[in-house]
Symmetry: C3
Subunit: 90 residues, 3 copies
Amino acid sequence: QQCDFDDLIKLGGDVLLKALASSVLDKAGLQCTNVKATGSYANCPSDLKPMSCACGNACGSWDIQNEQTCHCQCANQDWSSARCCKIGTN
Amino acid sequence: QQCDFDDLIKLGGDVLLKALASSVLDKAGLQCTNVKATGSYANCPSDLKPMSCACGNACGSWDIQNEQTCHCQCANQDWSSARCCKIGTN
Amino acid sequence: QQCDFDDLIKLGGDVLLKALASSVLDKAGLQCTNVKATGSYANCPSDLKPMSCACGNACGSWDIQNEQTCHCQCANQDWSSARCCKIGTN
């Protein structure tokens, strides 16, 4: 099988891009924090997104509102917490 | 301490790579959506992965199947939801 | 409206950086695994971070300790599990 110059350039570009991507992504990491609040709501800092919520009273029913807020749905929630993450540079 | 030309090149490369990684990762973000379904299962879209699950009836027992599906384990689940995310470009 | 050479360079750099970021981030993905253990604690592998926890006995009250460990808070936990992720190269 033959390949012309354009193929070589394209191949080289793919190899280079993959190597570059690997080097860049080696420096990428998930940076997370936990926010706990009294009551039914817990807010992530504005630059982080909620990945999950935990709730007092053993409650596992929750929803995420506006990509920012954990809402624990059970009655008489004593506490709510949000697990909040972003992509950062190590 | 002395350093030769190779050290300088290597040092420059590390600095450049770190700057490039920082610039590229500034444009990276977690893109997420919530999927709610009736019953015991909720599926993430194929290009997103489940980060967590929430369940009706206050249930906090769940598992993730095939890197795609939230399964709420309690009996008589009225609803299940999946928190689904991917890495995107801002 | 006029723009000088510096503007052109800056504009070109932004376009190039955006294209490069897009190409690199196309190769980025969330790589996740589930760790289930008996008792109240489940640990993520050292290179992954907990995104959420699930607990036996329908329990939805949990916390994440030291960015590594899921702790299910209800009494007599039969099992605990951790959803663990990192940024990887596809």
